[in-house]
């Protein structure tokens, strides 16, 4: 479906896909909605305004939209400010930006990915990527 190098596979905003999707090493960007299972060897981006009810397996996942389902990332999961996620998450590195909403079981670390769990299977070469920054929200009870 997708090709490697600098190419990006884009699922358009008015597109709805049900079933199983597999992307190669290139970046895949979902602007529409999808149900089922998504596998990506490279980065998977779920854009703002899109929604996925899917089990996701990818190297890197960046979420701006809404995701319901389990995510397994061999490298990194990034929940940006508009992201809303419900489901279990297994990753080597987790980045949660201020404003993101997340509800589910979490396993983070190299051991978590090696051991599998959460939503999926088949992950390889875990690699620590970055450090995130969460902003102080001064919320008191």
């Amino acid at each position: 479906m997708s090709e490697t190098n600098d190419q990006i596979t884009i699922i358009g905003a008015d597109t709805r896909i049900s079933g199983e999707m597999t992307f190669g090493g290139a970046t895949a960007k979902i602007l529409g909605s999808c149900d089922g299972k998504i596998t990506a060897k490279g980065e998977l981006q779920i854009a703002s305004g899109s929604s996925c009810k899917a089990e996701v397996n990818a190297a890197r996942v960046a979420i701006d939209g809404v995701v319901e389902g389990n995510i397994t990332a061999s490298e990194r999961v990034q929940l940006n400010g508009n992201a809303k996620m419900t489901g279990d998450l297994v990753a080597t590195t987790l980045v949660v930006e201020s404003g993101a909403a997340f509800n589910g079981h979490v396993r983070v670390g190299t051991d978590a990915v090696k051991g599998g769990g959460g939503g999926g299977s088949s992950v390889s070469e875990p690699k620590v990527v970055s450090v995130n920054q969460g902003e102080k929200v001064g919320q008191k009870k």
Partner: protein, 112 residues
Amino acid sequence: MTVGCPKCGKQLLVDDIVVKTTQQVRKLQTCGRIIVQPKGRVVADLVEAHEGIECRGLVRTKGYLGGPVLIGAKATWRGDCAAPTLSVEAGAKIEDGLFAVGVGEGIEESAS
């Protein structure tokens, strides 16, 4: 420092808590912030900190945080967590906990 709750009269701890060694308690509650230093370990049934928690050591608990949660690069978190924001540094370990981050007023219900 503690102050009395104007409504119920219960004494409330308002200082930050710095954990340098092992703290094995039932409840660790403050209106301030909890800082778990690299050699610190918190093993508790419940942790409540209304200005959040900075974990650089090990925390094993069910945590309700009113402020941001930071899990440091060499830290280990084991257990549930409800908080408005979460920061996880690369290298941190989270060993299977139910997390409710930024879900507003439903935080405590969803994590319990």
